[in-house]
């Protein structure tokens, strides 16, 4: 038991150490940043997979930083939900890290990229692992500030414009979160999330919790790009280098937006009917508006960015249904979306790497020249559109069934409609980019280097076998324990406070 607890701080320590060592040692030595980046992310992936087994063996684990016991010191909490998101984050980070070895060759200062990348990873892991509300804000800002710099990494016109828009809007979003924390602290006189949940249940529902819920939905909704707050995403995500687009769309909006929102709304404040229906409406709105905006795009990465908004809508819809099946489906879709959206962004990066363009009208017939990119893109497109054997189908199916079972058939209808439009939109991508006749100027196009191929194939493999997470033996340990945390709601307080003597 004591040995198991000790892995918890390393989720933050390893990426921070990697980032500072890269900045310290790897400026002059060309090959060192790649090594540090890959080793760091591999170690993180290993301990996050280890954490699943530990959580299944011992239940929720609590680490008291500095030996200060729970309500006083900063606590780090590892339960089913955290370890689920940690695996998602670190899996994508590892694969993206391998991809970046080849892709980032065109940029001059690779060490800056890896430093910012690892800092962003530290922030994301910190948000997921922490059990303290203000600490969550600090890690949120570490990840956000690193991501602003990464969006502006190319320092061209469009990238700067997108980065400014993103940074300005996201900073305002963080201010709403901070204001919410100030209200909650003044109301409960504690910052520990479990202790706060205990105090809030004692005091009962009142206007403060409603106001704080609204502030958090605004703040974290802005980070997660739910529809009224989505304006920054279609600019920011395409402007970053492709590995970072994959990280931003794949995991940043999930760990910073959805994880934090669900953790606070479900486990700390406790979900109420008005908040749940607000989230349902926001989710459905993002799902439909995102896909309608996506279908008219001709810039490949911009199209993918709009689809991120749409798929985030599915996740929020599933989780906000509140039924066990809905939460399960939402979380499963969170994992699946991380995998296939990262893969799609890596594919778009590969196309850009080889041809130098992102405009769908200028591409055509690339399947013959770039079989790996084309093949993996086909897998990911079918996955996001919900074609049966792939992972996206299962999670969408579960969300739709859950919506019907919960007596909300209209939401199920919108989900089916959005899924059909997604299919149409990705048919367009495949038709214009990879099938059709090869244009003459692309005759000399070559397939991308080996590390990029390997990482894309790995993600495509996960897309194909992703449905296996539903098999009864695997299901309870990974997805089941994550959704149980959300289902038990404010019972979180008892679990966490009970596990500390």
């Amino acid at each position: 038991m004591t040995g198991a607890v000790n892995i918890i701080p390393f989720f933050v320590v390893i990426p921070l150490a990697g980032a500072f060592l890269t900045a310290l040692l790897a400026k002059k030595i060309k090959w060192l940043p790649d090594i540090i980046g890959s080793v760091t992310t591999l170690a993180l992936l290993a301990i996050s997979i280890l954490s699943i087994f530990k959580v299944n063996a011992y239940g929720a684990l609590v680490y008291s930083v500095g030996g200060w016991k729970l309500p006083i010191g900063i606590a780090m909490v590892l339960d089913g939900f955290s370890s689920f998101v940690l695996v998602t984050v670190n899996l994508i980070a590892f694969i993206v890290g391998i991809y970046a070895v080849n892709y980032m060759e065109r940029f001059t200062s690779k060490w800056k990229f890896y430093t910012l990348f690892l800092l962003m990873l530290a922030g994301m892991n910190g948000v997921v692992i922490t059990g303290d509300l203000f600490n969550l804000f600090v890690f949120l800002e570490i990840a956000s500030v690193a991501s602003y710099a990464l969006v502006a990494f190319g320092t061209e016109k469009h990238e700067l414009e997108a980065a400014f828009k993103y940074a300005a809007m996201s900073t305002v979003g963080s201010l709403f979160v901070l204001l919410g924390i100030a209200f909650l602290y003044s109301f409960t006189s504690t910052l520990n999330m479990a202790d706060m949940a205990r105090v809030l249940t004692q005091k009962g529902a009142n206007n403060i919790t409603v106001m704080v819920s609204v502030l958090f939905i605004m703040g974290f909704g802005l980070k997660a790009a739910l529809v009224p707050f989505h304006a920054w995403l279609p600019d920011a995500h395409p402007s970053a280098p492709a590995p970072i687009s994959a990280m931003l769309s794949g995991v940043l909006i999930k760990s910073l937006g959805i994880y934090a929102l669900c953790r606070i709304i479900y486990n700390v404040i406790g979900i109420t009917a008005p908040v749940a229906s607000a989230l349902l409406v926001l989710g459905t709105l993002s799902m439909v508006v995102g896909v309608f905006l996506a279908i008219g795009q001709w810039d490949l990465k911009r199209l993918l960015a709009y689809h991120s908004i749409s798929q985030i809508g599915y996740v929020i819809l599933g989780i906000a249904l509140g039924t066990p099946l809905g939460i399960f489906g939402g979380l499963f879709h969170l994992f699946n979306h991380s995998v296939f959206k990262s893969l799609l962004f890596l594919n778009s990066g590969a196309v850009e790497y080889s041809t130098g363009t992102r405009d769908l009208k200028k591409m055509g017939g690339l399947m013959g020249k770039m079989p790996v990119t084309g093949g993996t893109n086909l897998v990911a497109s079918m996955s996001i559109a919900g074609i049966p054997p792939f992972n996206g189908f299962w999670s969408k199916l579960i969300i739709i069934i859950a919506a019907v079972q919960a007596g909300k058939p209209w939401f199920a209808f919108w989900a089916v409609l959005a899924s059909l439009l997604t299919l149409a939109s990705f048919t367009k991508v495949m038709k214009y980019a990879f099938f059709g006749t090869l244009k003459e100027k692309w005759n000399k196009v070559k397939e991308v280097p080996v590390f990029m191929k390997v990482s894309m194939l790995a993600l495509a493999l996960i897309c194909v076998i992703g449905g296996a997470l539903l098999i009864s033996g695997v299901n309870e340990g990974f997805l089941g324990s994550a959704s149980n945390v959300l289902i038990e709601g404010t019972g979180y307080a008892k679990v966490i406070l009970g596990s500390v003597k």
Binding site: E161, Y185, S186
Partner: protein, 112 residues
């Protein structure tokens, strides 16, 4: 009560400035104003009636002090806002270099 509302008024002023102004530098100033309003609110939350500063020294005994925790939190929040403000200013300077203007109505190449 009034003083808390003044704080929120300052916050709304900052947000208004972010939403309404066209000059990038003015938008950054708006963000800073809103940040300070939140920090001020957090410090005000810590105040206790007739409290004194929570500084322990050898020859005094403190009976009634203000809550020290929000001060530490606000200090952290200030550090974070320093980082994001520095980044925003750097991006704004680069934008001026590329576009030759601070007017956001003229910096509109990303659309659709």
């Amino acid at each position: 009560m009034g003083i808390y509302l003044l704080c929120l008024l300052l916050f709304c002023l900052g947000i208004y400035c972010v939403l309404r102004k066209r000059n990038i530098i003015k938008i950054i100033i708006g963000i800073i104003i809103a940040e300070y309003a939140v920090n001020l609110f957090f410090v005000l939350v810590a105040y206790r009636m007739n409290g004194r500063a929570p500084i322990l020294s050898p020859d005094t005994t403190i009976t009634n002090m203000v809550d020290p925790l929000p001060h530490a939190l606000v200090l952290t929040a200030i550090v974070i806002s320093l980082a994001s403000t520095a980044l925003l200013v750097a991006i704004a300077m680069r934008i001026y270099e590329k576009y030759g203007t601070f007017d956001i109505t003229k910096i509109k190449e990303l659309k659709g």
